[in-house]
């Protein structure tokens, strides 16, 4: 009878395709929404992802994300390096700064200070340049960090460093190599441009050397935000992190733990995440509603056929099985189509528009599970009129 049920499902092509598209749309919506959310969240720990040679991140004990940090004294680096099992350890500094453009406008940047000697933490550069450009005095590498239109400098020479007044509303262009900005009245020169993992929230980035941070932020007595540690081969990152915590009293997390901490921090503290989650839940609810109603209507419209089967001796369990088979198969096929569409569309927009889309292993799973649960619930609800159905309706006049 289950083959009969599937034939009933697929028999009315228009209705069947409509149902599949409805379910596919829901699966698409749910998976896309979750992948979008995952994309944003993973951008939240972009700093950790781009420093993948660091096995352990060491920080102030109160810090539990890359988003909200406090600096430590420089001596901390030596304390960490002295722990047995540390192969090497390099400093990293994170500071929010305001930089002035040549026409007088300004922009907030996150300044990332990397180790002078190894330049560990510096990004890959565009234009075929090497991170060693940072060894040139006052050099910085600029990165949009997922932001758009925030790295604009005046196009015309006459609008740069004018003596009369700020030339704010003038034609602009993207920052280029050799352009200059001011930070704390000190000149910095764009020596490189990069395109690293976009940040969440999006923000322009300036990379420079750790020592240059001291020149640019002379009032900061503490500038060491993280110590990036590489573990020796004979010790696991987790063991080394525990050892560092025990010996220094600092917080030490393996890279994966620190990513989890950061995600957790965003989920708890970020209002943006809450707003986004609310929007996504609304979208998913609409999708689920559409699927549920379509499946219910499908079964309801076939009531007469179920009445015929019931009159001919089909038992309640057989009819239930048929309804659930129809819902299950419809859900799985629709979900497959929706997730396929999601992968294609998501990857396309992610590659072409730098969209925060990341289809992680659990997002399609949630899509399928969500659609299956809704479909089976709709089937259970629509089964009620079938079971309550008086088979006598198949006779004329009823």
């Amino acid at each position: 009878m289950y083959q009969i049920a599937l034939k009933m499902l697929m028999g009315d092509r228009a209705k069947y395709i409509g149902l599949l598209l409805g379910i596919a749309f829901t699966a698409f919506l749910v998976t896309f929404a979750l992948s979008y959310f995952a994309g944003f969240i993973t951008r939240g720990f972009a700093l950790i992802s781009e420093n993948n040679s660091a096995d352990v991140w060491v920080m102030d004990p109160a810090v539990n994300s890359t988003e909200l940090t406090i600096n430590m004294p420089d001596s901390t680096l030596g304390r960490v390096r002295s722990v047995k099992g540390v192969d090497y350890a390099v400093p990293m500094s994170l500071n929010d700064i305001t930089a002035r453009f040549p026409n007088g406008s300004f922009q907030f940047f996150q300044m990332i200070g990397v180790d002078d000697a190894t330049l560990a933490g510096a990004p890959m550069l565009l234009d075929g340049r090497l991170p060693e450009v940072l060894h040139t005095p006052d050099s910085v590498i600029v990165d949009a960090g997922g932001s758009a239109g925030k790295l604009q400098t005046p196009l015309a020479k006459r609008d740069q460093w004018p003596f009369d007044r700020a030339h704010l509303n003038v034609p602009t262009r993207e920052l280029m190599l050799g352009d200059e900005l001011l930070v704390n009245d000190r000149r910095i020169i764009i020596s490189g441009r990069s395109k690293t993992i976009p940040r969440f929230p999006p923000r322009p980035l300036l990379y420079t050397t750790y020592s240059n941070v001291t020149h640019l932020l002379p009032s900061e007595s503490r500038r060491l935000t993280f110590v990036l540690v590489s573990a020796q081969e004979n010790i696991s990152p987790k063991q080394l992190a525990n050892r560092i915590e025990q010996q220094t009293g600092l917080r030490a997390r393996t890279a994966s733990e620190f990513k989890e901490d950061t995600v957790h921090w965003f989920l708890i503290n970020s209002e943006d995440v809450g707003d986004m989650a609310a929007m996504l839940i609304l979208a998913m609810t609409v999708g689920f509603g559409v699927t549920g109603v379509m499946l219910y209507m499908f079964t309801y419209e076939n009531l007469k056929q179920y009445a015929v089967l019931k009159a001919m001796g089909a038992s309640a369990s057989m009819l239930l099985g048929m309804i659930f088979i129809q819902a299950g198969v419809g859900a799985l096929l629709g979900a497959g189509m929706g997730i396929g569409m999601c992968a294609i569309v998501g990857e396309s927009v992610s590659m072409t528009l730098d969209y925060p889309f990341r289809m992680m292993w659990f997002t399609p799973l949630f899509g399928i599970l969500g659609v299956l649960i809704v479909s089976l619930t709709a089937a259970a609800i629509s089964a009620r009129p079938v079971l309550k159905l008086e088979p006598g309706v198949v006779f004329s006049g009823r």
Binding site: M1, Q3, I4, K7, M8, M10, G11, D12, K304, Q305, V308, L309, A311, M312, G313, A314, S315, A316, M318, E390, P391, G392, V394, F395, S396, G397, R398
Partner: protein, 242 residues
């Protein structure tokens, strides 16, 4: 076919009462209907609209429960059967032919005919083979893979008859089997039903308004106002106590 008083009774109903609604809106559909139908006869149940014919056949095919009275179908007292037993009785022993054919539109003629066997748990291959044989017997073997929408009304009704026959039921209930058909097709259908009765021990009850087909009946049961008011033996039949 000849009938006599010694024939076994397939349907025995006494004082069947059925009401719909409650209180002021209560309506009596059956007010003590009595009926005996013998094995191997073709009985037509006739009467004006609203007289209770549909309710009556719904009750003795175990689709609806009576509020009062006794009903024995094929030796089984419906009052003592559980819901599951009633479902089993319908699946094994009763065939249905409906006015609107009620074929499943997504299934081919052969698959439609196979449905009662599939409901009983017969394997798909065997059920399809049986269905083909029965379709052949109603003259539709060549259209076995056609969908209902591709068949004429007469052909659809023949498929429905094949579906009612495929599991060899002892009782077939036909509800207005010719009212959706033209005279010629209706005649063909009734001849087919008559042949079934003549060539097997199947009992056929036909609910109808169509006086053009009365000639095919062994007996006619006239209903009005929720009761059987008259039973007559047709002229060409012998030996029935009316």
């Amino acid at each position: 076919m000849s009938l006599d008083a010694e024939k076994k009774i397939a349907v025995h109903c006494r004082n069947i009462i059925k009401t719909y609604g409650t209180g002021a809106s209560e309506v009596f559909a059956l007010r003590g209907a009595d009926l005996d139908v013998y094995e191997g006869e073709l009985l037509m149940l006739v009467g004006p609209s609203g007289c209770g014919k549909t309710t009556f056949i719904s009750i003795f095919t175990a689709l609806l429960s009576a509020d009062g009275g006794e009903c024995d179908i094929l030796g089984k007292d419906l009052n003592t059967l559980s819901s599951d037993q009633k479902v089993h009785l319908r699946a094994k022993s009763i065939g249905f032919v409906f006015q609107a054919f009620n074929l499943l539109p997504a299934l081919t003629a052969q698959e439609n005919v196979a449905v009662p066997l599939l409901i009983q748990g017969v394997g798909r291959k065997v059920a399809m083979q049986e269905a083909k044989l029965v379709l052949d017997s109603v003259g539709l073997g060549a259209r076995s893979s056609a969908l209902p929408a591709e068949l004429s009304g007469g052909m659809q009704q023949r498929v429905a008859i094949a579906r009612a026959l495929v599991h060899h039921p002892k009782l077939i209930v036909c509800d207005e089997p010719t009212s959706s058909l033209d005279h010629e097709s209706g005649h063909v259908i009734m001849k087919l039903l008559r042949d079934i009765v003549d060539n097997s021990n199947t009992t056929l009850i036909v609910v109808t308004h169509d006086d053009r087909i009365y000639e095919f009946a062994d007996r006619m049961a006239h209903m009005d106002d929720g009761k059987i008011i008259k039973i007559e033996t047709m002229k060409n039949q012998q030996g029935i106590i009316a």
